[in-house]
């Protein structure tokens, strides 16, 4: 209804009255500005100018509001336009005396996204570095069992995500529009709930950061290897089992002990983790991470590139599958293995989004489609993981090499001189360098916010926190760079609280309060809690 010209200059404002007009009412003041004549919008009545700058309705409403405001005192809301008369916020422009006009964005009015954007955002957020460990985890569980577990765990975590998403709405009498899941936990479990959900959330974040550090050292090492050794001397056997063939998997994942001095200064576990400190510690100490938020697109590009890489390799190598159901053979692994909890641990982190799903879904345009969109997103994520896992596992050349050799980071199975993999590693390295400060920022905001109430209490507080996190990363990179294990332990730990225990408990309590809790439901959710605990315990024993 209120049509405004494209050129936003010199528009009249339909500012909400009561604020600006209150100054104009009193003639008691000696302020001369108050006595200025009424301003009529600049319109040329002689010219037949077809372009309307302000719509007729807006102009007349403005005139009425001006007049009515003169009839009563400035504090009297008797003649203020009611909400259904005032145009909605996105049709109101604030006119600045400097000659421009800009739109009002009220605090509670945010633009909503169509379903496809929301689905993509969820997929993008969930796709983490755990994608690199899926083939290894699939191998640990056995091919068939692994696929079954992947599907089953995906569905389970989807259900838990759904009850997390539902949880704020079941809370009566309170405005939960700004709540995230830790706030819900605080509502039901008090301080304990708040602190424990914070701690477990930190576990997932810090676990991710440690994994990032290990991977970054790995990629940096391999990039250095490629640039320094392979490029100038493509034929030199730089030790280990490298060959020139670009599509050959290698058996090496361990550090190759080079005799040359380059190897001494460029070692995956000894030196590259330390070189990263120089680059990343200062970035972590920055006050704001909004600069790094621009680079989130790199994550998508990396995943897409990985998918392409996986496809190309699979096409070149062909499938090598042989089904041995329980027994072990020299080159293959049984289809059903007892080590399957390692897969569930990895998947718990791979499908983890429960601490921010409420916020992500808030900007969905059609809220009634939330469940559908969430399911579609989980389906896409599951298919991506399945694709990568199955293809790498199947394409792994088993006659010369055993499936057991699949590394927790499947890129390690490629030689350093593989160009496609080199590009992938560089991509991922760059992407991780930009995401790492974001993760650090999230950890800092949550921890400092809860403990000190201030996101940046002082440089030394923040520095101390960063040193702790970086130190953990460096130590892990040096002594235990098995990202598969780091992922499964941190996944199972944070999953215990944020995926299984808290959502199930919250759901059961809210149903109980509404008087809707039935035996099958209570049994099923208790079973979920047990599953979560079993998941964690199994990580230690398997």
């Amino acid at each position: 209804r209120y049509i405004m010209e494209d050129d936003c200059r010199r528009l009249l404002s339909s500012e909400h009255p009561g604020e600006s007009y209150s100054h104009r009412g009193s003639t008691d003041s000696l302020d001369f500005k108050v006595k200025r004549p009424f301003h009529v919008e600049p319109r040329n009545i002689v010219d037949d100018d077809p372009q309307e700058r302000v719509s007729a309705e807006a102009a007349i409403l403005n005139s009425r509001v001006h007049y009515y405001s003169k009839l009563t005192g400035s504090s009297d809301r008797l003649l203020s336009p009611p909400n259904h008369v005032v145009p909605c916020p996105d049709e109101i422009y604030i006119y600045s005396p400097l000659g421009t006009a800009f739109k009002v964005t009220a605090a509670d009015y945010y633009s909503k996204n169509p379903s496809i954007v929301t689905i993509f955002a969820i997929w993008n957020t969930m796709m983490g570095t755990s994608i690199l460990s899926i083939p290894w985890a699939l191998k640990q569980a056995g091919f068939t069992l692994g696929i079954l577990i992947l599907v089953f765990t995906g569905l389970l975590m989807l259900y838990c995500c759904y009850i997390v998403l539902k949880s704020p709405k079941a809370i009566p009498y309170v405005d939960t529009s700004n709540w995230e899941f830790p706030d819900v936990c605080k509502y039901y479990f008090g301080k304990f709930g708040q602190w424990s959900s914070l701690v477990f959330s930190m576990v997932s974040l810090i676990g991710a950061m440690v994994v990032y550090w290990v991977l970054m050292s790995n990629f940096l090492y391999n990039t250095g290897q490629f640039i320094y050794i392979i490029c100038p001397y493509p034929n030199i056997d730089s030790g280990g089992n490298y060959t020139i063939s670009t599509s050959y998997f290698s058996n090496s994942g361990n550090d190759t002990s080079d005799i040359s001095s380059f190897g001494h200064w460029w070692s995956k576990t000894n030196t590259t983790p330390l070189y990263l400190i120089v680059l990343l510690l200062p970035l972590l100490c920055l006050r704001s991470a909004s600069f790094f938020a621009r680079f989130t697109f790199l994550g998508t590009v990396s995943v897409v590139y990985l998918l392409t890489l996986v496809t190309v390799k699979a096409v070149r190598l062909g499938f090598h599958l042989d089904f041995h159901w329980i027994d072990t053979s020299q080159f293959y692994v049984p289809e059903f293995r007892l080590l399957f909890p390692q897969l569930t641990g990895v998947l718990t982190l791979a499908f983890f989004i429960h601490n921010c799903i409420i916020t992500l879904m808030k900007s969905n345009r059609h809220q009634e489609n939330n469940v559908r969109d969430l399911s579609v997103a989980y389906l896409l994520v599951g298919m991506t993981y399945l694709y990568v896992g199955v293809l790498i596992f199947a394409a792994f050349p088993s006659p010369p090499l055993s499936k057991e050799c699949i590394e927790p980071n499947f890129l390690d199975n490629f030689p350093s001189n593989d160009v496609m993999v080199f590009v992938a590693r560089t991509f991922l390295l760059f992407q991780m360098i930009t995401v790492y400060p974001l993760l650090g920022y999230l950890v800092r905001v949550q921890m400092m916010g809860q403990i000190f109430g201030n996101h940046y209490p002082s440089f030394f507080h923040v520095l101390a926190l960063n040193i702790l996190i970086v130190g953990a990363g460096v130590l892990m990179a040096k002594f235990y760079p098995n990202i598969g294990s780091i992922i499964r332990f941190s996944g199972a730990t944070c999953g215990l609280a944020l995926v299984f225990v808290f959502p199930a408990l919250v759901h059961m309590i809210s149903l109980r309060r509404q008087g809707l809790l039935r035996w099958p439901s209570a049994l099923f959710h208790s079973f979920l809690i047990l599953l979560g605990m079993a998941n964690l315990l199994a990580q230690f024993f398997m």
């Binding site: 003639t27 009424f38 009529v40 040329n44 009545i45 002689v46 010219d47 007729a56 102009a59 007349i60 409403l61 005139s63 009425r64 001006h66 007049y67 009515y68 003169k70 009839l71 009563t72 009297d76 008797l78 003649l79 336009p81 009611p82 259904h84 008369v85």
Partner: protein
């Protein structure tokens, strides 16, 4: 509504005039010889039972116009209709020639797609109840142009020789070569009649002028001055607002800037005498405005 139409400050503490009467009563001179009595009944049953029945003949004698305002949101339709009928009976008894207008007010609170339906329903009911008197119904809201248009229609119907006025106004405008000439009622700046020689873009210009002048009058009154005339001029047009007859103001818009102001002002002054003769001078009449909340 009264404050908006008559440009009065909304008085806060002038209610509760008497111990037993919880009613706001005031009067305004309107259309020259009309005295508009305004009753703001505030949903008080005491008014209807006590004062109304006892003072009935006084209130309803010599009434020219009855303007009855209904609140569209009222939950007690039966009671409203009952009181309306009592008023009509009193009018029939005392001033059977009065014109009756019904305003269905606060229509902005009704959803847009339902407004026409609800208003039609009310109009049918009111017309049926008003027989043998004929009532004219309007739907109004202070937040759109319907209020101004309704009151302008009411005023138009109250001017005794309005067609004659319009013809004379057209002649006047053509003689002085004006683009547009408006005749306003003095107290409310409601447009009584107008003439325009070509199509104007802004359909809301009457209401806007009215609002502007009323605001100016309010500001003037704070300085204990009264508004008499105004000239607005720029390179494209010149507009003159001036007292015309005892009940009206005139606004003349000239788009030829070469005509000097003095010429137009002389023309207006000469026309004044002519139009005064057209205004009939009768005895004081009453008009009644009742508002139920």
């Amino acid at each position: 509504m009264r404050s908006i139409i008559f440009a009065n400050y909304i008085a806060r503490d002038t209610r509760r005039l008497g111990a037993t009467i919880d009613v706001e009563h005031s009067h305004v001179r309107f259309l020259g010889n009309l005295v508009l009595n305004l009753w703001d009944c505030g949903g008080q049953d005491t008014f209807m039972e006590n004062y109304f029945t006892s003072q009935r003949d006084n209130i309803f004698r010599n009434v020219e116009v009855l303007i009855y305002v209904f609140d569209v949101e009222s939950r007690e339709l039966e009671k409203d209709m009952h009181y309306y009928q009592s008023c009509l009976e009193a009018i029939l008894q005392n001033s059977p020639d009065a014109k009756v207008f019904c305003l269905v007010h606060k229509m902005d609170l009704v959803q847009e797609d339902q407004r026409d339906v609800i208003f039609k329903e009310r109009e049918e009911d009111l017309k049926r109840l008003s027989r043998p008197l004929a009532c004219t119904c309007f739907r109004t809201s202070i937040w759109d142009e319907t209020l101004y248009k309704a009151w302008s229609s009411i005023v138009y119907q109250l001017i005794p020789n309005v067609q004659q006025l319009e013809t004379n106004l057209r002649n006047f405008a053509q003689i002085i070569e004006a683009d547009e000439v408006l005749l306003f009622e003095r107290a409310t700046f409601l447009v009584i009649s107008h003439y325009q020689c070509k199509e104007q873009r802004d359909a809301h210009r009457f209401e806007k002028i009215s609002n502007i002048i009323k605001q100016f009058k309010l500001s003037c009154s704070k300085l204990a001055a009264s508004f008499q005339s105004m000239e607005v001029r720029n390179s494209n047009f010149a507009a003159f607002i001036d007292v015309f007859t005892s009940n009206t103001y005139v606004m003349v818009i000239m788009s030829d800037p070469s005509i000097p102001s003095a010429a137009t002002l002389i023309n207006i002054r000469n026309a004044r005498k002519h139009f005064e003769k057209l205004e009939r001078v009768d005895g004081p009449k009453h008009s009644l405005h009742m508002r139920m909340r």
